[in-house]
């Protein structure tokens, strides 16, 4: 394929992505979720009041979790109806009647949605970091072991936020996959459960091991071990992208592990998108 050919294909993706971003940015649900996220983020202080000397830690904890959870909710609420809305509203006819391949449409939708999720979470992260800096300055507190509290904007926090971005990249791809083959409600349900299940991927791995090996003298079940093992390998391992627990304690993830985690998130998202494109390719439009 020539550079001009690649450019033409990217032009279609860019046009769809730009329009999706514009459409999502006008969605009131987006602002509702962001507002709620900010509210929860700020409420960390309230919970901090009831925890002795733990204000800043609680703010960190709740703040990082809020960015992840509400970012995923944006992908869920805004993203799961994106493709169906195009089909229901019949705007898809005039788009695909252009020299635009279906995969370009799906990838464009994904890029536009991920751009929206990223912009919203970047905003929330900024508010979180500023808030954290202010609270650390005002009430530095101390850790239970009497050591000095970690710096507010340390590398571990940045790592956690960056990996949250990649976690949302993966969740957004799942939202687009389900949206391309299912109704908005069903795809929202699927996306939500996959997001929640993904947070417990390590527990599924542990369960698979326990099922295969057996516990406390009980014989193991190779069948259930294999089934759970397969589930673990297939499900998105969002647990891997969740370093928020260690970041709260100012423990950084090794650079190599972070790089492999990012590669995993990109590869998994790409695979999900390829599946979404393949399924959408076969779909007849109503």
């Amino acid at each position: 394929m020539t550079f001009a050919g690649i450019g033409a294909r990217l032009a279609g993706v860019r046009a769809v992505a730009g329009n999706t971003f514009r459409e999502a940015a006008r969605d009131r649900v987006l602002y509702l979720v962001v507002a709620f996220g900010l509210l929860v983020l700020v409420s960390g202080k309230v919970i901090g009041w009831v925890s002795v000397n733990q204000d800043v830690k609680i703010i960190r904890d709740i703040g990082l979790a809020s960015v992840s959870f509400f970012g995923a909710m944006i992908a869920l609420f805004v993203g799961t109806g994106l493709i169906q809305r195009e089909m229901g509203g019949r705007t898809i006819y005039t788009i695909l009647a252009r020299p635009v391949a279906r995969w370009q449409f799906v990838v464009g939708k994904y890029a536009g949605l991920f751009g929206t999720v990223l912009a919203a979470t970047a905003g929330m992260s900024l508010v979180f970091l500023v808030y954290l800096a202010i609270m650390t300055h005002l009430a530095p507190g101390e850790t239970l072991d009497g050591a000095a509290p970690p710096a507010a904007l340390g590398w571990p926090i940045v790592q956690a936020l960056v990996l949250t971005g990649f976690e949302l990249m993966l969740v957004t791809s799942l939202a687009v996959l389900f949206s391309s083959v299912s109704t908005p409600i069903l795809s929202a349900v699927f996306t939500f459960f996959t997001y929640v299940a993904g947070q417990f991927a390590s527990d599924v791995a542990w369960l698979a091991e326990m099922a295969a090996r057996g516990a406390e003298g009980e014989p193991g079940s190779p069948f259930w071990g294999a089934v759970l093992g397969a589930v673990y390998r297939l499900m998105p391992n969002l647990d891997l992208l969740n370093v928020r627990g260690t970041a709260v304690h100012a423990i950084a993830v090794p650079a190599g592990q972070m790089a492999w985690t990012i590669v995993y998130a990109i590869a998994y998202s790409a695979l999900v998108l390829v599946i979404a494109c393949a399924l959408f390719e076969r779909r007849d439009l109503p």
Binding site: E23, R90, T91, Y93, T94, I95, L96, R98, P99, D284
Partner: protein
Amino acid sequence: MHPIQTRDLTVVYRPSLLARSTTGLEGLTLAVEAGHVFGFIGANGAGKTTTIKTLLGLTRPTRGEAFLFGISSRDPASRREVGFLPEAPYFYEYLSGRETLDFYGRLSGMPRDRRRRRADEALERVGIAGAADRAVRTYSRGMRQRLGLAQAIIHGPRLAILDEPMSGLDPLGRRDVRRLILDLAREGVTVFFSSHILSDVEALCDRVAVLSEGRLVAEGRVGELAAARVKSVEVRCTGLAREDLAALGDGVAVDEEALRREEGVLTFDVPDAQAANRAAALVIERKGAVLALTPVKESLEEVFGRLAGHGPSGARLPVRAGTARTQTDAPGGAADGGAE
């Protein structure tokens, strides 16, 4: 190379594994010549929209193939020089008319300068330049239809596929769209359009295809289709009285209005040429004068009504050169009840 060509195009719908399959289109073989205005008519559910969606790759054929400019409709490149107006087009409500055209121009890979210039031209051409910067949500149905036409032509396509282009337009709007279609044809653009307003098809199209229950039942020049069958002969004469017509047998109908209008002149229809000969002989016998013998041919609407209901599968009407067009210009589409 034909702008549109289909071979044995068949679409069978099966909504789910347990549902019964329905045939949307069966064995459609069609070729549209470059530069023609081609009309596509058929009753609701006849398969017109299915054909258009298959041509544009929106629906996969179960069997057969469709080509646009020789490229398979499965390949997005086949749509590079195609403009499409869907029936009752929908657009993003929050975009303005100009932004909408810019979006479609981008999808067609047009550079920014050309998009801007062509958007202004297209909006001007369809008559909504004054509303270019208003949000589409404020547009009336007719304005949306015009915007749909503008997006179909912004990139200067060589083929325009228009699904019910007159739908939702007032008489002035219909006139403007007719002019636009004729202008496009003059510019060498091939226009393929479906319409339930048969007078529009008759006035605009070089050729027409009639679909019924997913099958092609007739295809040919409009004049050939419409004038292929003489349904009666009109006799205009002097020297005869109404009572004399009994001698001509059954099937004679007097034009009462003409009788009131022209004193001493009798105008009546006889069923066929033999009856017309007998009528002429009778007039001569009564020392009268035959003023006119006019074959009354089927209008496109009547052809459509006959074929859509009972036409044989895939049959082509006989092609005869030099046949005249019949005059039917029923405003608002006289076949509204039966056609899509």
